[in-house]
């Protein structure tokens, strides 16, 4: 047994080390491109971006909100596994945690570039503005990232060689033992930061496109963001699982596990999209007229934002995947399951795009015009950077950590 294979999980087969390193090298090229762009932003400043007075929130914040929503599979699967006691999900929870860890660390990385001076990142904790939704986001996001680290560490400690060290073995075992407490804390933190991200656009009374009424201090977008993350996050977990299965050419999770998660996601998505439809209708015919606008104003007289975005978000990437997932036959058919999870993942990204960037675009003053925005290559590169980082972390984790408990049973080594 060579040094590399001695680190693999017991009873599984992996590709050869040179093949693995070729994959890592290819991803590294993209990673280096992103790091170069990030360094440009840090050393030369935010003039490297196409952000301006209209677009203080731009591609980075959209990417941030999108990865946080897609990473919602970690908190919701953890909630289902540890608090609702859906025991079957223990076979996919490790991967959900890994994907969540990647998504949230990516979000922190993007924010680290976006703030311009990351050395002052601690200001938000020490000089907190306690009336800001974003302060709550920063608190909950940071704390939840710590929770995700705590959930990921036992996985690392389960590495075949690390597990031989008694202290690491006991530490991993003890962390598993009280994981329900961490999962409950994570679910609590996630509900609030997902919600507050939605709340940010909802409280913008000077921006009628985003403004919503609500309950007490929370606009309806607060609840819709949490709901959509809980619905679409698990879809993204299934999507990445399916992609990993396709690339590794082996089944990693039994169909009943995927089916359960897809079914729950489907019902979450179905109920969410009904709520979103009601919210949109109320916004169009009550909220917007009360601010002196007609809803069609926000979808006309510009080169990009038309009603197509509503159709895309609510019908094509909302109702269609929801119906595919709640229908047993289509949920259990591979092709329609693929379509549903891809559409659901795109749908939540479109929703975040609308509530981050479309909010900034329409004119709200008599002297304003539509403000459209095209990101600079530095913004694009730094947004792709976390994708490369995520692919790399998945490659390393899949190779050396027992991410999929059912892999050995589903892929017995015959020779």
């Amino acid at each position: 047994m060579d040094l590399d294979s001695a680190l693999w999980p017991k009873g599984v087969q992996r590709c050869t080390f040179p093949k693995f390193m070729i994959g890592i090298t290819v991803v590294s090229v993209v990673l280096v491109w992103g790091v170069y762009a990030a360094l440009l932003c840090w050393f030369k400043g935010l003039n490297q971006t196409n952000m301006n007075d209209y677009y203080g929130f731009a591609l980075w914040i959209w990417a941030d909100l999108a990865v946080i929503a897609l990473g919602g599979g970690a908190f919701f699967t953890g909630f289902l596994r540890y608090l609702v006691k859906k025991d079957e999900l223990k076979h996919i929870i490790n991967y959900a945690v890994l994907i969540g860890f990647i998504c949230y660390s990516s979000a922190q990385l993007i924010l680290g570039i976006d703030v311009g001076q990351p050395l002052r990142g601690w200001f938000i904790f020490w000089h907190a503005n306690v009336h800001s939704m974003l302060t709550e986001v920063a608190f909950c996001l940071s704390c939840y990232f710590v929770v995700l680290c705590i959930e990921y560490i036992p996985l690392i400690l389960e590495n075949r060689q690390l597990d031989k060290v008694p202290f690491f073995h006991h530490l991993g075992h003890n962390m598993h033992g009280i994981m329900a407490i961490f999962a409950a804390t994570g679910a609590f933190l996630s509900c609030f930061h997902q919600g507050s991200l939605g709340g940010v656009s909802g409280v913008l009374f000077g921006r009628p496109f985003g403004f919503r009424e609500g309950v007490f201090i929370w606009p309806w977008t607060f609840f819709l963001f949490t709901w959509s993350a809980a619905a679409c996050g698990p879809c993204f977990t299934i999507l990445v699982t399916k992609l990993t299965e396709a690339i590794s050419k082996k089944q990693l999770v039994k169909p009943n596990v995927v089916d359960l998660l897809a079914k729950i996601s489907g019902w979450m998505l179905f109920t969410y999209i009904i709520a979103k439809t009601v919210d949109t209708w109320y916004w169009a015919f009550v909220t917007v007229p009360s601010k002196g606008f007609n809803w069609a104003f926000f979808y006309s007289n510009n080169d990009f934002y038309g009603t197509w975005i509503l159709w895309l978000e609510i019908v094509i990437c909302g109702y269609i995947p929801a119906l595919l997932l709640i229908t047993k036959k289509t949920r259990q058919t591979n092709s329609t399951l693929w379509i549903a999870i891809i559409l659901a993942s795109i749908g939540v990204c479109v929703n975040r795009w609308a509530l981050v960037l479309q909010v900034m675009a329409p004119p709200v003053m008599p002297f304003d015009t539509w403000a459209l925005y095209i990101p600079s290559w530095q913004e694009v590169a730094t947004t792709i950077l976390p994708v490369a980082y995520g692919v790399m972390l998945i490659m390393i984790s899949f190779r050396y950590l027992p991410i999929f408990p059912q892999e050995r049973e589903l892929n017995p080594i015959t020779n």
Partner: protein, 54 residues
């Protein structure tokens, strides 16, 4: 921010926001401390540490 910081004010916003942060950090910190201490104790007891986690 702590109550002894000059920016602190004893109002509901500060208590809820900062209280929530400390509460979450306390749970995380206490849970992690418990795991580390118990792992050290278990290791010192001489358990070989074999077998599955689940």
């Amino acid at each position: 921010m702590f109550p002894f910081s000059f920016e602190w004010a004893w109002d509901m916003s500060h208590i809820v926001f900062m209280g929530g942060l400390w509460y979450a950090l306390s749970i995380i910190g206490a849970g992690l401390t418990y795991c580390i201490i118990k792992a050290a104790v278990d290791t010192l007891k001489g358990d070989a540490g074999t077998g599955d986690h689940h």
